[in-house]
């Protein structure tokens, strides 16, 4: 498949994630939209790794394998991030009894 299709698909998913962060007030949904953005980037990295492999396969059969390793590490970091982030959201819910991010704007005072 042409690489442009993959880029545009990943961009669409990423922008949907951005819109989700902007329009929702539930902290958990905002967090899920961040996961969506991370996945869009993962898809783009895999597509680029296969593009690199297609371009350089004649000289180096394993060109582009680093891109997929990066995706692996992004998944590792995302899993760690989710565990800590959800713990923070649970703590916030215990303190203010809501997951509405607008409750947190008193931080600015």
């Amino acid at each position: 498949m042409p690489i442009q299709y993959y880029i545009i698909l990943a961009l669409a998913l990423f922008c949907i994630g951005v819109v989700g962060v902007l329009v929702r007030r539930n902290a958990i949904i905002i967090f899920m939209c961040i996961e969506l953005m991370l996945n869009a980037v993962n898809l783009l990295l895999v597509a680029f790794s296969k593009m690199h492999n297609a371009a350089l396969a004649a000289t180096n059969a394993q060109a582009g394998v680093e891109g997929q390793l990066f995706v692996f590490f992004i998944m590792v970091v995302a899993a760690a991030e989710v565990s800590v982030g959800l713990a923070i959201i649970v703590m916030m819910y215990r303190n203010v009894h809501s997951v509405d991010v607008n409750f947190l704007n008193r931080l600015k005072n």
Partner: protein, 167 residues
């Protein structure tokens, strides 16, 4: 139009539709389920690109572990349609318009780029996504980042316990 093309368009449509449904569904549980659908569609794309290891890891880690964690937290807090906070219509409209502007700018950039004009992503072929090649590369050239990520996991685990503890 071969099977690969049909699958590509089908999975792309499924991914984008599910991603939109994550945003528009009122109940958080429905959002989580639609996000799982997005992850399955992206795993299908990985299989199409012959990145089999990442496809399986994506399903196990994202759809299996992370989304179950989200589901647990949502059910623990008993969030549903009634408790869902809503922004007013103008704020939503502003968010959609600004996100759409970002999308339009980036897509026009992609369409102008000449370097990627005739590049293709190899589908159905190539063995760099197989677990043998990835494992050899990971454990020969990237052993230090791998170990550091294990330390990161340990610190995240301790952090989650410390933050989530009732004091």
């Amino acid at each position: 139009m071969g099977v690969t093309q049909i699958l590509f368009w089908f999975l792309s449509a499924l991914a984008i539709f599910s991603a939109v449904m994550v945003l528009v569904s009122k109940s958080p549980v429905h959002s989580v389920l639609w996000l799982i659908a997005v992850f399955f569609a992206i795993s299908g794309h990985y299989i199409l690109l012959n990145a089999q290891f990442l496809a399986i890891v994506n399903i196990i880690v994202y759809a299996g572990a992370i989304m179950v964690l989200f589901l647990f937290v949502i059910m623990l807090m008993n969030l549903n349609k009634e408790t869902e906070p809503q922004k007013n219509l103008w704020m939503k409209l502003t968010g959609v318009v600004s996100g759409g502007c970002l999308l339009i700018v980036l897509i026009s950039l992609v369409r102008q780029a000449t370097e990627i004009k005739d590049k293709i992503a190899l589908t159905n072929k190539g063995d760099i996504g197989l677990i043998k090649v990835l494992g050899k590369t990971l454990f020969s050239g990237y052993i230090v980042p791998f170990e550091i990520s294990s330390v990161l996991f340990l610190s995240a685990m301790i952090g989650a316990v410390v933050i989530g503890k009732k004091d």
